[in-house]
């Protein structure tokens, strides 16, 4: 009994790590959908670029700063990755999405698909093989609990958490709290919420819509880049295809939480992380995708606009 509880507790820790990464990516989808009602299909590939940017930056920065404590190097690289990916996201919006704002919505979605494909295939040209990220921090494993195997024969079961897991969860939570503050308490955040509430009236109130949208892409892509870096540290072998694999999952998380809702994205991310980890606990690991996508369909049947989303008001 205790054995099973311990196992479940271990999986909960893993789910928290997975969920916080999903939540960070899902935020980017949700923020963009909130202001533009557009699905930014290139976001998953920006997440993937975050991991590659971390690899490249770590190769340059770490040898230069040997005297600096590793945690500061980590924070420096994290900020640089967020800045690079953030500006890239804003740049894509500027050149590819903004000219299409008056065009049919589908054109923008297709362009986003094209941008994602372009990023992925360009990365594939530069890095045809999987790359590995050097560890930025010495990873330590903390043993929280140890229980002898009841049968007496096997090795004792331990409940462990690594320093990296703590760091990932902590960074994710700090970023989410900062975002929540930005959206609820600052003028930018107020403008962002206003645009998603009524995009047609807001420009009449003197709010620079273009600048706010650029900001949204900057922040959303920056968070995606940070998620990519955390993911790369947790699973150090990275490949261009992970943009699609993980990115689409995070998109599901955003939809489950209610796309357009910031807190919904976080909730959806953690739910998806938990479902994926639990699916592997109870079924074979090959069923993971089947279960998480079926969950999405079931939730959409009962809550068509996600858990925390609200139905758009239909104007005729």
């Amino acid at each position: 009994m205790l054995h099973d509880l311990l196992y479940l507790a271990q999986q909960t820790i893993n789910a928290l790590q997975q969920g916080s990464i999903y939540a960070l990516i899902a935020l980017g989808y949700s923020m963009v959908y909130g202001v533009l009602t557009m699905i930014n299909f290139a976001h998953g590939d920006l997440f993937m670029l975050g991991a590659f940017a971390c690899m490249l930056l770590a190769g340059v920065v770490t040898p230069l700063l040997t005297a600096v404590p590793p945690i500061l190097v980590f924070i420096l690289i994290l900020l640089m990755v967020m800045a690079v990916i953030g500006f890239l996201g804003a740049f894509i919006e500027r050149v590819a999405y903004r000219p299409l704002r008056g065009a049919p919505r589908v054109s923008a979605i297709i362009t986003a698909l094209g941008c994602g494909l372009l990023i992925e295939s360009l990365t594939l040209v530069i890095f045809p093989y999987s790359q590995s990220i050097p560890p930025l921090l010495a990873n330590r494993t903390f043993e929280l609990m140890k229980v002898a195997d009841p049968a007496g024969a096997g090795a004792p079961l331990t409940l462990t958490i690594t320093a990296l897991q703590i760091l990932i969860i902590r960074v994710a939570i700090v970023l989410m709290v900062a975002l929540d503050f930005l959206i609820r308490k600052t003028r930018y955040g107020m403008a962002m919420r206003a645009i998603s509430f009524d995009a047609r009236t807001v420009p009449l109130m003197g709010i620079p819509v273009d600048r706010i949208i650029s900001m949204t892409f900057l922040i959303g892509a920056g968070l995606g880049g940070a998620a990519g870096m955390l993911y790369g540290l947790a699973y150090p072998v990275i490949a261009p295809s992970m943009g699609i694999l993980v990115g689409w999952k995070a998109f599901i998380a955003a939809v489950v939480g209610g796309i357009g809702s910031i807190r919904g994205a976080v909730l959806g991310g953690f739910i998806l992380g938990a479902v994926e980890v639990l699916a592997v606990v109870f079924f074979e690991s090959t069923y993971r995708d089947l279960i998480s996508y079926s969950l999405l369909l079931v939730i959409l049947i009962f809550k068509p606009y996600g858990l925390l989303g609200s139905a758009p008001n239909q104007k005729v």
Binding site: S107, L118, S121, L124, I244, W248, L290, L297, V316
Partner: protein, 329 residues
């Protein structure tokens, strides 16, 4: 010469003549080495892509929805027809058309269920539902050992020939063209323009949507069945990248245009094969092309315009392509 071409574009006879010529060449090529093996495969692939493209155009172009799950229907058709010809009734080449129809029917059945589900939500959420559908189908095949699991289904006979492909291309274009210029087709276009207004005018929105979805998924399944009997199939082939390819073809050729779908499928398949030596650069070029196309010509090459050959006679009069006969007074 120019005058001849101009009159041929308006006339009714060239299309049946072209189809007859196509069939003659296709059937002859089975007995005489007209095309090399590679050329045959490229031509069949173009045919399969035309079917995929025209059928997706019905939902994404004419109805204005955004489905990303077409590769899922293709996969359903491919697997069910391949199971039919390899496991249930093997070694009966005469039953190949039945297998293709069976694959299409299963895809249509699932398409019907998906259409019902899609009424729960609106707009962009169809993209999400079809995405989930695509992933579920792929994951299901991977977990069924009966169809080979992740390794794919082996030992499928190469029964897809040029005449069969041409036959199905003609059927697809004919059915979709007749559907579009029927009462239901008008309803589908009305839904694209304004669903609420269409509903208020008495268009049966649900019926029209379900019909469009079922027809589209049927032909998606047919294309998959043809593909399964030409190539080796495994679950990974029918993923989001395949769906994106079909979307690229549709939007390249032009939405709401069967002529555009044919053109898009031909150009895209040709480029894909011509750029083969470039390796990974191929996808870079194709995706850059897609972005440029959307920025400078968002409706595609033939967007919202139709080849005069596909228009019914009354449409030709309405558009002034053919002058009405002067009334005798």
């Amino acid at each position: 010469m120019k005058a001849f071409l101009a009159s041929a574009a308006r006339a009714r006879w060239p299309l049946p003549a072209l189809i007859a010529l196509g069939f003659a060449i296709a059937i002859l090529s089975q007995y005489q080495p007209i095309f090399s093996g590679y050329a045959q495969i490229v031509l069949i692939t173009i045919g399969i892509n035309i079917i995929l493209c025209a059928s997706l155009n019905l939902v994404n172009g004419y109805m204005g929805e955004f489905s990303v799950g077409h590769a899922g229907f293709m996969s359903l058709g491919a697997y069910t027809s391949a199971v039919f010809t390899t496991k249930w009734l093997p070694d009966l080449p005469a039953l190949f058309p039945v297998a293709v129809v069976f694959g299409g029917a299963i895809a249509a059945l699932i398409g019907f269920l998906l259409a019902l589900l899609s009424f729960k939500t609106r707009g962009d959420y169809l993209a999400i539902i079809t995405l989930a559908f695509l992933m579920i189908v792929k994951s299901t095949w991977e977990n069924i050992p009966y169809v080979g699991g992740p390794a794919g289904l082996l030992g499928v006979d190469k029964m897809t020939t040029l005449p069969w492909t041409l036959f199905w291309v003609v059927i697809t274009i004919l059915v979709i063209r007749n559907l579009i210029y029927s009462k239901f087709g008008r309803a589908i276009i009305a839904i694209r323009e304004d669903e609420i207004a269409a509903n208020a005018m008495g268009v049966r929105v649900r019926e029209a949507k379900i019909l469009a979805f079922v027809v589209s998924s049927f032909f998606g399944g047919v294309a998959g069945a043809l593909y399964a009997h030409l190539n080796f199939i495994n679950p990974k082939y029918f993923d989001i990248v395949k769906s994106t390819e079909i979307l690229v073809m549709v939007y390249l050729g032009g939405i709401s245009s069967l002529g555009g779908s044919i053109l898009g499928a031909i150009i895209f398949t040709f480029l894909l094969n011509a750029l083969e030596p470039l390796g990974y650069w191929r996808m870079v070029i194709l995706s850059a092309l897609l972005i440029a196309l959307m920025l400078f010509r968002p409706r595609g090459i033939m967007g919202l315009r139709e080849l005069p050959w596909f228009l019914p006679r009354r449409e030709l009069f309405a558009k002034g392509v053919v002058p009405l006969a002067p009334k005798k007074t």
